[in-house]
Amino acid sequence: MDFLQSIDWMLLLRCFIVGGLICIVGQILIDKTKLTSARILVIFVTTGVILGAVGIYKYVIDFAGCGATVPLLGFGANLAKGAITEAQTSGLLGAFIGGVKASAGGIAAAIFFGYIASLLAKPKIKKQ
């Protein structure tokens, strides 16, 4: 019960709205430009890195929490944040290490779960 009391419900609402709005931008790109999903993911990640690097995105994160970090923009911003922090502490080497280090958990999880899933699952037809 303590956990429920610790939840910031207004933050959760802002998270829902901002996360949803970012997805609407993606949906408009899909429907209006005929870009493939790979291209859309690339656009979001790269934009995230740039927004993170110029320092805008951290305000969005402060405002919306996971509504900003869960979309791929956040993944990009996290790469940028890692690269900047690490570059400031360990120089040139840090510029190479920082980004991947900050997002290593997500990347490793995706690869690992992907491999496990391929062991267990069989391709199926879309019933749509």
């Binding site: 997805c23 790269t46 570059a87 980004g99 491999y115 391929s118």
Partner: protein, 147 residues
Amino acid sequence: MKSIETKQEYLDYVDKKSPNSPILRNCFNAFWVGGLICSIGQLIFDFCQYKGLDDTMSSTVVSIILIGIAALLTALNIFNKIGKFAGAGSLVPITGFANSIVSPAIEYKSEGYVMGVGGKMFTVAGPVLVFGISTSVIVGIITLFFI
């Protein structure tokens, strides 16, 4: 209708003939599914904080759990139905990145675990890592010289 002679005339004509996507409905679905996924992430994040993890660790836990759920739903042949319904709502959050790695891994299993699963796993998500990481290295280098 008048007769069509040039390629440009034909392309304009085709544009007119091709049905548009139901963009309003798509945006609405993308909005609430995307918002919901982020909110689930937020609850996980809050729980990590409640358990005493710091911001960075909590974010990583959120990513790993959402990726794990997306991978499981992909393997169960459910994620593609969510994706068909929600479009960008499930693509743009980190779940879309996970799905784009897990789906080719399953599909190309028939070509073997090394060149099939291992090799084709990044056919869709590879570009995301290439552009994301390369840009972050550039950002890091720029930081060194200018800040």
